[in-house]
């Protein structure tokens, strides 16, 4: 197993054995611990001192199902904190097949230089000139790169937003069909990649240098047992294949926790038009695909292909968070408009969540009407054009709020909240406030506790513990490459045992169940250490004031978890 160190200043790639201090790490654990060790906490996120780390999970590239998440880490230009954002697609498996534990992109290319990092099926890596691709959108770029290097390649790339280095820029990843519709969206990591002068990473998927498996027989048994647990789980085995993540539109609106009209209501008028149920009906009527394999080794198939009235591809995959940000927050209830906005964001290389919320803040500031789809499309197009307003919008909702001097900006540490209002799901508010990476739902989503009847979403009791436990679990899961949407099988006895057995069989270890949360705690501690050294304190672990003061209909509740309780979130011994 090896590291590739890509020095953009010198234009050179160096291969090294995995340093001892990083042994046994993968995914988010590796990106966060490398960033904490090697990146000066107070550095300019868009300068030469920042590093961008690409790390497949510990199980990526093996036969273990749904382990195709690639972690990308750096200091974030959006939040100023440490950041890990992970994407599906094919890149994590491709790197795993080549025995590459991490790619560390260092330094900074001379201004205006643009390169591609190409890794062939033998693992030979080189930086190649990419001036011909300057300004290109992710879709056309991916098509050209696959024509040049062959279809059996995985691609990570930035669009115009990344080249412009705006703070909501994403890194797009190709799916199994070679479309750049998967994203490491959060935290503005596309801007870091753009600042390095790196337009794309192109990796052959046919590598045969994967790390050894200590006990292949036991590993194979564990793979089968875990796959059965994923299929047997009602969420990953039934609901997600049928409706995708959009199946959450109904539950969250039914709970009154769907932040709508820039988080002034908890139920969107006409939300049924955006529901997973209605989306599946539209896709079926038009001849699209309600279920689809988006990522390598996926057995959940939550992806979809949304098509227009003529049956022509519009986007893949239309996801819950995008439907919320571009629909709920903006008041747009036309799925065709939302699909167009999703495609634009993927092509321009923008986080759909931050961008949708930035559009909503613009509307709330009175610069466009809620529900105006054409205005929203025009705003997003302006990012690619590099207009003055486009750059403001591309820097996310906080930049828009500052520009218009508008107070209602739903961000924590500069990053927008997700599709769960903290007043209607108090535990998600704890996660938004305390997560080391700004408001981030995947770091600790507590919705399962509410819908499972274990916790009252509207009261303070139990929310900190629920958030803490979920944040620890997710930090561990994010080390392995396992997709969040398959990870719920871990909560079943069969799934949990199979997962632990697979980890031990892969690495020849004899870890018990406590090793998994211990891994999560180690990661969070490293992330918090980096943030503390960057100047963040507990005062930064707070929600915006309006969540404490403006009641959210229909419950008319505010966020009620106390600061003292928030500050106990990472008291791990409790």
């Amino acid at each position: 197993m090896k590291f590739l160190r890509v020095n953009m200043t010198e234009g050179k790639v160096r291969v090294e054995d995995v340093p001892q201090q990083y042994a046994g790490l993968g995914g988010r654990g590796l990106t966060s611990i490398v960033v904490n060790s090697e990146v000066p906490p107070k550095c300019d996120p868009l300068g030469a001192e920042n590093k961008m780390i690409l790390a497949p999970g510990l199980l990526s590239g093996t036969t273990f199902v749904n382990t195709s998440r690639l972690s990308i880490g750096a200091k974030s230009p959006l939040t100023g904190t440490i950041k890990e954002s992970n994407a599906g697609g094919t890149m994590a498996a491709a790197l795993g097949h080549l025995g590459i534990t991490a790619i560390i992109v260092e330094g900074q290319a001379p201004k205006e230089d643009l390169s591609i990092l190409r890794i062939d099926q033998n693992g030979e890596a080189a930086l190649l000139p990419a001036q011909a691709y300057k300004g290109m959108g992710a879709y056309f770029l991916s098509k050209k790169l696959l024509e040049t290097y062959g279809e059996k390649n995985a691609i990570l790339c930035i669009g115009p937003a990344g080249e412009l280095q705006v703070s909501a820029a994403s890194i797009q990843a190709t799916d199994v069909d070679g479309r750049p519709c998967r994203a490491a969206g959060r935290g503005g990591l596309g801007a870091v990649m753009g600042a390095k002068g790196l337009k794309a990473v192109v990796v052959d998927q046919r590598g045969r240098s994967a790390g050894a498996i200590a006990d292949p027989d036991a590993f194979g048994e564990a793979v089968k047992a875990f796959a059965q647990a994923v299929k047997a789980h009602p969420f990953s085995g039934q609901m997600l294949p049928a409706l995708g993540t959009a199946g959450l539109v109904a539950p969250v609106n039914s709970m009154g926790a769907f932040p709508s009209y820039n988080a002034t209501k908890g139920v969107l008028d006409g939300w049924e038009k955006l529901s997973g149920e209605n989306m599946a009906k539209i896709i079926t009527e038009r001849g699209g695909r309600t279920t689809h394999t988006g990522c390598a080794q996926c057995i959940v198939h939550c992806s979809n292909e949304y098509v227009d009235k003529q049956g022509k591809y519009m986007t893949a995959s239309l996801e819950y968070e995008t439907i919320w940000s571009m629909g709920g927050m903006t008041g747009i209830t036309d799925l065709d408009v939302i699909a167009r906005l999703d495609y634009l964001c993927d092509d321009i290389g923008l986080d759909t969540m931050s961008t949708g919320v930035a559009v909503a803040v613009t509307m709330d500031a009175g610069k466009a009407k809620f529900g105006d789809g054409n205005a929203a499309i025009r705003m997003v197009e302006e990012v690619a054009e590099g207009t003055e307003f486009g750059r403001i919008l591309g820097n996310g909702p906080a930049a828009v709020g500052n520009h218009f001097n508008h107070h209602r900006v739903p961000v924590v540490k500069g990053q927008s909240i997700a599709a769960y209002d903290p007043r209607g799901m108090q535990g998600n508010g704890v996660t938004y406030a305390t997560c080391p990476m700004g408001a981030d739902h995947t770091a600790g989503n507590v919705i399962g506790e509410y819908l499972g009847g274990a916790l009252d979403p509207l009261k303070a009791d139990g929310q900190v513990v629920a958030s803490r436990n979920t944040q620890i679990a997710m930090a561990a899961v994010d080390c392995t490459g396992l997709c969040l949407l398959a990870s719920f099988a871990l909560t079943t006895p069969e799934g949990g045992q199979a997962f632990l057995k697979a980890m031990n069989a892969k690495f020849g270890t004899n870890f018990g169940p406590d090793a998994i949360p211990a891994m999560g705690i180690r990661v969070i501690q490293a992330e918090r250490e980096f943030n503390a050294n960057a100047g963040f304190t507990s005062k930064d672990d707070r929600l915006p004031e309006f969540f404490y003061k403006e009641p959210l209909p229909p419950h008319n509740k505010v966020f009620v978890v106390s600061d003292t309780d928030l500050d106990s979130t990472f008291h791990f011994s409790q």
């Binding site: 969420f235 609901m239 199946g247 109904a250 989503n445 919705i447 399962g448």
Partner: protein
């Protein structure tokens, strides 16, 4: 008494001919609880179905009211 039921997720597939966008009108005994409604619809506890009315999640022992619209949801864990 009669309650109105909206089915979400894949629940509507259990009722052949039911329009997923439509409403089921269900007659339940007076003083019926959420658990009674689920049992009447053949939904067992292990299926992790939860009821919501006007933005509030209900427990199986909560009483139903005449004419209320109940959303029946499958447990979901995030996305």
């Amino acid at each position: 008494m009669r309650v109105r039921v909206k089915l979400f997720g894949t629940l509507s597939l259990r009722f052949p001919g039911h329009d997923p966008a439509g409403v089921l009108e269900v007659d339940v005994p007076d003083q019926a609880k959420v658990g009674d409604l689920l049992a009447l619809l053949g939904i067992t506890q292990v299926e992790n179905v939860v009821a919501a009315v006007e933005g509030i999640l209900l427990k199986t022992e909560d009483l139903l009211k005449e004419g209320t619209t109940v959303h029946l949801l499958q447990a979901a864990y995030g996305g």
